[in-house]
């Protein structure tokens, strides 16, 4: 059963940049001169040297009146109150869990910020502390919301809603946090047969749509035995490859762009989407559809 293995020279690699309205966005690199005039104010990501305004990070320019700042492409996640994040438990401590959310410091999930079985207003007893590991262990994935930001920049999370909690079977993708577009809702049930959580911290969770919802349990008790069928797996794999194609071309990720990419990728089989040409093709077609939708 001969398998095709794709090997190519690095010199023949594909250019992944996608033109928006026939212009390729200009990316500034650290040390590059932005402008020579002195009347601009310096924002984040810039510094002044010898009368020139230079960039200190790799990113795109944002200009508001006469304030110039550079938004970095790849950075650690800076949390804000109200953001939806997907995180992985790294430690179980006395009354809290430490969660890795791709930020500079691990975020904190307090025991008092989670929904325990037995109702909302249950008092946290000493037994709950001992049972912490039974609710969330090291390595578990959760979806949560940022409740507050500590003075050192670390985040305090909460899962005080039925839509947050431990995540069951699915696929996790890590992208740059700057590529996730802020929108009203980050939980999407796509019509193609899978659901997606776009965490603001760059962690994207794709999972099969659950048809039955258990209420009152707060999302901590799940069935390890549920089986994901083959067509659902193909949908999830295709969504994963489409998201990686959009990420490679540095396009913003939101439910519409992902759905357009999914539809445009139907002409390739799922493993073919891992080839760079296919990824760039899908990204260009998605950008065309987005521009058409904007202009109409």
């Amino acid at each position: 059963m001969p398998q095709k293995i794709h090997i190519r020279l690095a010199a023949h690699r594909v250019n992944a940049s996608v033109a928006v309205n026939r212009r390729v966005p200009k990316i500034f690199t650290p040390g590059q001169v932005i402008t020579e005039q002195n009347e601009f104010m310096r924002g984040h990501g810039t510094y002044e040297e010898e009368g020139f305004l230079k960039s200190s990070v790799a990113g795109v320019k944002e200009q508001v009146n006469n304030l110039i700042s550079i938004r970095p492409l790849k950075s650690r996640y800076n949390g804000e109150v109200g953001d939806v994040v997907v995180g992985r438990i790294t430690e179980v401590q006395q009354k809290r869990w430490k969660v890795d959310t791709n930020s500079r410091l691990d975020s904190v999930l307090l025991l008092s910020s989670v929904n325990l079985p037995g109702g909302e207003l249950r008092r946290r007893s000493a037994e709950d502390e001992h049972m912490m590991r039974q609710y969330l262990q090291e390595g578990d994935l959760i979806s949560a919301e940022v409740q507050s930001v500590f003075s050192d920049g670390s985040l305090s999370l909460h899962t005080r809603s039925l839509k947050y909690g431990k995540l069951s079977q699915g696929v996790l993708i890590k992208v740059f946090p700057s590529l996730i577009k802020r929108s009203k809702t980050h939980f999407h049930n796509l019509y193609v047969g899978a659901s997606i959580i776009l965490g603001n911290n760059g962690f994207i969770w794709i999972y099969p749509t659950v048809t039955n919802s258990e209420d009152g349990v707060g999302g901590f008790v799940q069935n390890l035995e549920e089986v994901v069928s083959r067509p659902e797996r193909e949908t999830i794999a295709r969504l994963r490859n489409c998201i990686l194609a959009l990420t490679q071309s540095k396009m913003m990720l939101f439910d519409t762009s992902i759905l357009y990419a999914f539809e445009e990728s139907q002409k390739y089989s799922v493993p073919e989407l891992l080839v760079p040409e296919a990824m760039v093709d899908v990204a260009i077609l998605t950008q065309d559809r987005l521009s058409m939708a904007e202009n109409s």
Partner: protein
């Protein structure tokens, strides 16, 4: 492995492999996309850089003159693998030493295959002078399946090696080696057929090729096959030597 997965993610990967559809849509025997380039390091005799999706390895080869080991009439090939501290959080400080030692041992076992690699071709003056090849590998990013990537990169770098032409001047008992000054006068290394390693990872009851880093967390055991192509009187034969590892 520091990269821990939740029990649900492991269950998803396990079930997917049994159904022959992995997380990225590949079947059990599909490789990811490979990109390769040679001649990247100017201060070496040969070098290569290989990218296998996320995995990134860099190989530099230096060729020097030296004495062969006593009793053996062949050259030497010395491997060293280094894990860059930025490749993975677990490689901080001395964390990468265990993986480096394990990979170096695997590579040393690879050259014990006398039928594929002919070390006698490295001899210049029998028992006095031979070529010693230093193969240094650095793992820049660990995205799974590092051993296969290293073996492919080493093969590419060895094919890129240029050694200067040497002529031996005999003077009774004394030998003198004349190394050509002309940078164009060099020859490529001929070692026979250098093998390539293929690692099969066991997940559940099935084997997969080219495991990603999440799939490596779910592996129970690994078998590495050394595959080389030996030409004997116009016949091609495939020699496979397995080495098993229980994780």
């Amino acid at each position: 492995m520091l990269n821990k997965l939740s029990s649900f993610e492991k269950e998803f990967i396990l079930d997917g492999v049994q159904k022959d559809i992995r997380a990225d849509g590949r079947s059990c025997f599909d490789y990811r996309h490979l990109t390769i380039e040679t001649g990247v390091l100017s201060n070496t005799s040969g070098s290569s850089r290989l990218r296998l999706a996320a995995t990134d390895v860099l190989v530099g080869i230096k060729v020097e003159l030296g004495r062969p080991l006593p009793g053996q009439d062949e050259g030497q090939i010395l491997f060293s693998v280094e894990c860059s501290t930025s490749a993975s959080p677990e490689f901080q400080g001395r964390g990468g030493d265990l993986l480096s030692a394990c990979l170096t041992r695997c590579l040393e076992r690879m050259i014990a295959n006398k039928k594929a690699i002919d070390m006698n071709k490295l001899i210049i003056i029998p028992e006095k002078q031979c070529w010693i090849i230093y193969v240094d590998t650095m793992i820049l990013v660990n995205g799974g399946n590092v051993l296969d990537a290293i073996s492919l990169a080493i093969r590419a770098a060895l094919l890129d090696v240029k050694i200067p032409e040497i002529s031996v001047v005999e003077d009774g008992d004394n030998y003198e080696l004349e190394i050509s000054d002309n940078p164009q006068a060099c020859q490529t290394l001929d070692l026979g057929s250098w093998p390539v390693l293929v690692t099969l990872s066991e997940i559940g009851s099935k084997f997969i090729v080219d495991a990603s880093i999440e799939e490596e967390c779910c592996t129970v055991g690994r078998v590495t096959m050394e595959v080389s192509c030996v030409r004997k009187r116009l016949e091609k034969a495939l020699l496979i030597r397995p080495s098993c590892q229980k994780c």
